[in-house]
């Protein structure tokens, strides 16, 4: 495994209020091409940890680097396209499935990206077992599990370098959950996509060796993380 780091936390502190910091002086390295499971009790800051990496949250002190450069040196929209965060609550706009899938291509920073044809979109939907879903259907009529996969597909089309998944399979049944998980694993293995995923499930590492980031919260919050491989 190549030892190059893709994301570095340098003494990062963060808290929603001054009295209750969530992270203090957090230093850690995420390796390029790594597969990380982010674990910890509810409220420990798992989502916040991911949100810090794509700059949806700003550390109160310290610095986060992406490919050796501080996050602030990237244009935020371009950074977020490379370090893609898939929200815990799948969110769509009140429009067709097609419009939702093509939404990222309507933003001016993505204007140069080639917009996929309907054929490609249909294939993607089929790959993710969204069999009964038509491109013309209103996305708001889909079930939570279908929405989760739709949002996942939508993100993948931007071909990110790092994938931040916030409980990507929480609303999925066993079969659809496995489809998503194996797709993530395949992208990690074959394309070298770095993956950080928040999950409560026990890892089933068949072909990949995940590393575990354990976030635990004490009274004065301190982050302990151990790497097991």
């Amino acid at each position: 495994m190549a030892a190059t780091s893709i994301i570095d936390f340098c003494r990062v502190s963060f808290g929603f209020s001054v009295e209750a910091p969530l992270f203090t002086g957090l230093t850690l390295t995420i390796r390029e091409g790594g597969f990380y499971l982010v674990q910890g009790p509810s409220g420990a800051g798992k989502s916040t940890f991911l949100r810090l990496i794509n700059r949806l949250e700003e550390p109160s002190s310290g610095e986060i680097l992406f490919k050796g450069r501080p996050l602030s040196s990237y244009s935020p929209p371009l950074l977020r396209r490379s370090v893609l965060y898939v929200q815990q609550t799948p969110t769509v706009i009140d429009a067709s499935v097609r419009e939702n899938l093509l939404l990222p291509f309507s933003f001016k920073n993505n204007a140069h990206l080639e917009q996929p044809e309907d054929e490609r979109l249909k294939t993607l939907l089929t790959d993710f077992l969204l069999l009964g879903v038509g491109l013309g259907d209103n996305a708001l009529t889909l079930s939570l599990g279908q929405l989760q996969r739709l949002c996942f597909v939508r993100g993948l089309m931007l071909s990110p370098d790092v994938l931040l998944l916030d409980e990507p399979t929480s609303a999925l049944d066993r079969e659809s959950g496995q489809v998503v998980e194996s797709m993530v694993e395949r992208l990690n293995r074959e394309s070298g996509l770095t993956v950080l995923t928040v999950t409560h499930k026990e890892p089933r590492p068949d072909l990949i060796t995940p590393r575990i980031l354990k976030i635990t919260e004490g009274r004065i919050t301190k982050v302990r993380w151990n790497m097991e491989s």
């Binding site: 929603f16 949250e57 700003e58 929209p77 977020r80």
Partner: protein, 264 residues
């Protein structure tokens, strides 16, 4: 200007108090507990308006551009404070953005209207500038408060949608476009409605005043048209400026939404 304007003497003024007394009696009889507020309200109306009358007389008499501008700024600062009090927002401080947008748009519209449309010379002639600016500020204050309240509410309520777009490579303008649109529409609808109803449902206040003062209704109408159009125009400009400036404050340098869900 003396044609047919009927004087109201102190005695007649006191007679008007009969209405307040009647309202007070009703309040007592039905236990509405409004008599205190009625009394204070009536007193304030008397004192504030008399004071205004003397101040205006003084300003008209001095006829100084500086004094007119001081009054103008005073009105704006006061309006900005009222809006700040009305929009309940703890996280974003928007006093300066609204002050700046008010100064820019009201200066533009007031000068244009008094100087060019009405053709007062000089453009700051207090008899024209101060009442017109006052109407402008008073009327668009509501629209600004509604727009800002709506903007902040929409951004909070639909934060997942905003962040979804940000995550997919939108900049903050793109991610909040729809919320700005909703906020602007909410603020503008009352002004547009009042244009629709003008002259059919109600006789606008300014026109009423001019007609009571003996002006020709057709002349009064021309003034009223100018005023209504000016009000709608300035309301649109000032709300848009304020909404855009405040929106900027809702996002950080990294185009991240800073508004947190409110603690209940």
């Amino acid at each position: 200007m003396e044609h047919g304007i009927l004087d109201i003497g102190p005695g007649q003024l006191a007679l008007a108090l009969v209405f307040i007394l009647a309202a007070g009696a009703t309040s007592l009889y039905h236990g509405l507990k409004l008599e205190r507020d009625l009394l204070v309200g009536a007193l304030r109306t008397f004192v504030q308006l008399f004071l205004l009358g003397y101040i205006l007389r003084f300003i008209f008499h001095l006829n100084s551009v500086w004094l007119v501008l001081v009054v103008f700024i005073f009105m704006i600062v006061f309006a900005a404070r009222i809006i700040r009090a009305r929009v309940k927002e703890k996280q974003v401080s928007f006093f300066w953005p609204i002050l700046i947008s008010m100064v820019i748009s009201y200066s533009l519209v007031s000068i244009l209207v008094t100087g060019v449309v009405v053709g007062a010379k000089p453009w700051w002639k207090p008899q024209y500038f101060i009442p017109l600016a006052g109407m402008l500020i008073g009327n668009s204050m509501n629209a600004m408060a509604i727009s800002l309240d709506r903007l902040l509410g929409e951004l909070r309520r639909r934060r997942h949608e905003v962040e979804m777009m940000l995550c997919l490579g939108a900049d903050y303008q793109e991610a909040s476009k729809d919320m700005v649109r909703t906020a602007m529409r909410a603020g503008m609808i009352p002004s547009i409605n009042s244009m629709m109803a003008a002259g059919v449902v109600f006789i606008p206040g300014m026109m009423t005043g001019q007609i009571l003062a003996g002006a020709d209704p057709v002349l009064a109408i021309r003034y009223q048209i100018v005023v209504m159009i000016m009000l709608v125009g300035s309301t649109a400009i000032v709300s848009l400026l304020a909404v855009l400036l405040v929106r900027r404050l809702c996002f950080g340098l990294g185009h991240q939404l800073l508004l947190r869900p409110e603690n209940k």
